[in-house]
C-alpha cells in the first residue's frame, strides 16, 4: 500500500504545481486557438490542397499521371539517389561520430564545425560548388570529358549534391548520443578479449541503433525531398536527370497541375510517413528499455 499512497501524494503535488504555474482559463483557450489556427493555416490546409488538387480529375487521372514514363523515371531516380546517398551518409555518420565521441585528437572542434557546414550553406550554393568543381570551365572538367566521365547533368552529380546536403543528419544525431554513453562499454568489451570489430558490432552498434535509425530516417526524407542543390547540378533532362521535386516543378510550369500535384502528393505522403516513424522512434527512445537520451 505504501508505494500507492506515495504515488498519489506525488500526483497531488504535481497537480498543485500545475495550478500554480498555469494561465487563466480564458488565455489558455486563446493560446490553444491561436496555435491550432496557425497550424491549420500553414500545415494542414496546404497539405489538404495537395491531395485535393491531385484528385481533382478523379482517381484515374491521378494514377495515370503517376504511371507516365517520365514520372516513373523521376520516382526511380529519386529512389536510386536515396539508396546511394543514405547508406554512404550512414557509414560516414557512424565513423565521424565514433571518432568525435570516443577519441581525443587535434582539430576535433574543426571537424564538428565542418560536419555542420551543409546546414549553414544554402543548397543552391552547394550545387554551384559542384558545377564550379566539375563543370567544363573547371580544372577537372576537360580531364573528365576526355575520359568520358559525366558528373554534372548526370546521376553522379545528383548523388554528390544529395550526399553533401544530407551529410550532417546521421552524424549530428549520433555525436551527442555517443558522447553521452562514453567509452566504458567499449573498454569493458575490449578487456573481455573482444576485437575491435566484435566490439563495434556487438556493443557499440546495439547501443546506438535507435539513434542511427532516427538519423537515417531524417536523412532519407531530406535526400528524397532535396530541391535546390539537385536543381543546379541536374540539368533537368526529362526521364533522365529529373528527381521527383524537380519533376513537380517542371509539370507545374507546364500548367499540368493534376500531374504536378499527384507527384507532390507522393512526397507529402513520404513526409507524413517520416513523421509517424519519427514519433514511433521517439516513443521507443523514451521507453525504459530504449537507450536513454536527451
Amino acid at each position: 500500500m505504501a508505494p500507492d499512497t506515495a504515488l498519489m501524494r506525488e500526483d497531488a503535488t504535481a497537480r498543485v504545481a500545475m495550478q500554480a504555474t498555469t494561465e487563466s482559463r480564458r488565455s489558455r483557450i486563446a493560446l490553444i486557438l491561436c496555435a491550432t489556427g496557425f497550424l491549420f493555416l500553414f500545415l494542414v490546409l496546404p497539405l489538404a490542397a495537395v491531395f485535393v488538387e491531385a484528385l481533382r480529375q478523379g482517381f484515374g487521372a491521378y494514377l495515370s499521371a503517376l504511371t507516365e514514363p517520365d514520372a516513373l523515371a523521376a520516382i526511380r531516380l529519386t529512389l536510386v539517389v536515396a539508396a546511394i546517398a543514405v547508406p554512404s551518409n550512414a557509414i560516414f555518420g557512424v565513423t565521424a561520430a565514433w571518432a568525435i565521441a570516443k577519441f581525443e585528437f587535434r582539430g576535433k572542434t574543426f571537424l564538428t564545425t565542418l560536419i555542420d557546414l551543409p546546414f549553414s550553406v544554402s543548397p543552391v550554393i552547394s550545387g554551384l560548388i559542384y558545377v564550379l568543381l566539375f563543370g567544363a570551365g573547371s580544372a577537372l572538367g576537360p580531364w573528365l570529358q576526355r575520359h568520358g566521365i559525366e558528373v554534372l547533368f548526370a546521376i553522379p552529380g545528383i548523388v554528390l549534391a544529395t550526399i553533401f546536403v544530407t551529410f550532417p543528419f546521421v552524424a549530428r544525431e549520433l555525436i551527442p548520443l555517443m558522447q553521452d554513453q562514453g567509452t566504458a562499454d567499449e573498454e569493458a568489451a575490449l578487456s573481455l578479449g573482444a576485437s575491435g570489430w566484435q566490439t563495434f558490432w556487438r556493443v557499440t552498434l546495439p547501443n546506438i541503433k535507435w539513434g542511427l535509425l532516427y538519423g537515417v530516417l531524417l536523412c532519407t526524407a531530406r535526400a528524397m525531398g532535396e530541391f535546390g542543390a539537385v536543381s543546379v547540378v541536374s540539368g533537368h533532362i526529362r526521364g533522365l536527370t529529373n528527381t521527383m521535386p524537380l519533376y513537380v516543378e517542371i509539370l507545374y510550369n507546364e500548367y499540368s497541375f493534376v500531374a504536378a500535384f499527384a507527384v507532390a502528393s507522393l512526397l507529402a505522403l513520404l513526409a507524413l510517413m517520416t513523421l509517424v516513424l519519427k514519433t514511433l522512434l521517439e516513443l521507443r527512445f523514451s521507453s525504459p528499455h530504449g537507450v536513454a537520451r536527451h
Binding site: S191, L192, G193, R202, P288
Partner: protein, 361 residues
Amino acid sequence: MDVRIINVRKEFGRFPALHDVSLDIRSGELVALLGPSGSGKTTLLRLIAGLEFPTGGAIHFGGEDASLTPVQERNVGFVFQSYALFRHMTVLDNIAFGLRVRPRSTRPSRREIRDRAMELLELVQLQGLDKRFPTQLSGGQRQRVALARALAIEPRLLLLDEPFGALDAKVRRELRRWLRELHDKTGHTTVFVTHDQEEALELADRIVVMSQGRIEQVGSPDDIYDHPNSPFVFGFIGESSALPVHVQDGQVQVADRPVGILANGCGDGDATLFFRPQEVEIVDGPGPVIAGVVVATRRRETNRRVDLEIGAARHRIEIEVPLDRDIHGSGRLALRPRRWKLYPVAGPREPNAGNQVEFVD
C-alpha cells in the same frame, strides 16, 4: 600472478598524472589503491589493465614485460566504476560475453559457455536473474554481474575501479564483506581503487596510499594507520588533528611555551604535531600542557567531540572527551596527546624520508 610496476610515468598531454611510480603486487594479494581524487590511483589501475599505456617505465606480469600488450591480450578482469554492463544483453549474455568473443579454436561449446555463466551467477549469488536486463537490477546486483562477467574469462588479475562507489552505505558494507570472502575463496590477485580509507583498511591486505601522482606509503592496514610516514598519510587515514608547533632545545613549544612533549630527534624549527582525536588525555593538574578554549562540542555515540582553539593564532583542533566529563561552554581545557607524530615543516619534499619523529607514551 605477480605484478611489478617499475618507474612508471604517465602524462596526458602536458598534464602529469603519475610520477615515477614503482610497486610490487604479490600473487593472491588484495591490494587497495587509496587516495583523494586526482591522486592518480585510477590512472595506475588503467595502466595495469592496459586501457592506457605508460609514458615511461614498465609493467611486468609474472616476469614478462606487458607494458605494450593490448588490453585484449592481458587477460585481466576489469570492473568499471559505472559497471559498464551491456544494456541490450541479459545478465547471462553479459557474463558469457568474454567467452563468446573468443576465436573459434579456444571457444568453449555453447553448452559449456552457458553452464560456466550459470556457475558464475551462482558464485555471485544471483541465481534466477539470468534473463533480466541490467536496467532491471539494483546497484548491488549490477555490481555483482560486472564482477561475474570479469571472472568469466578466468583473469590472471582482477581490477576494480571504485567498486562500491555508487552504492548506499548498507549495501556497501555487505558487498565489502562478500568481496573479501570471494577473494579468499577464489584467490585472484586483486587490485581495487578507492577513496574511502575505511574501505581500504577493512578490505585490503596491503594499502597503497597515493597523492598527486605519487605513492606516499605502502603497507598493511596496521602499518598505514599506526605508522603513517607523512603528514599527508596521517591526515588522510583516519581522523587527525594537526597543530603548528615550534621545536627548541628538543622541546615542543606551542605559543613559546613548552607543552611537555620531547622532540626526539626532530631538529629545531617549525614543525607540525599530529595526533588522533581519541588519543589524548585531559590534564587537570599543573605542568606543561596544550591549553585551549572550547568553541564547540558534539555528542557522538560513546563520547563527545570538542573543538578547541589553541593559542593566540586560535588554531582549531578536535579532540575526544569522555561523556562523564563536564565541558562548559567556552571553558578552557588542557590536554596532552598520548600518541603523536611530529613532522618538520618545509624543507625539500622527501617522500618516505626518515626524519620524522614518532612517539608513544
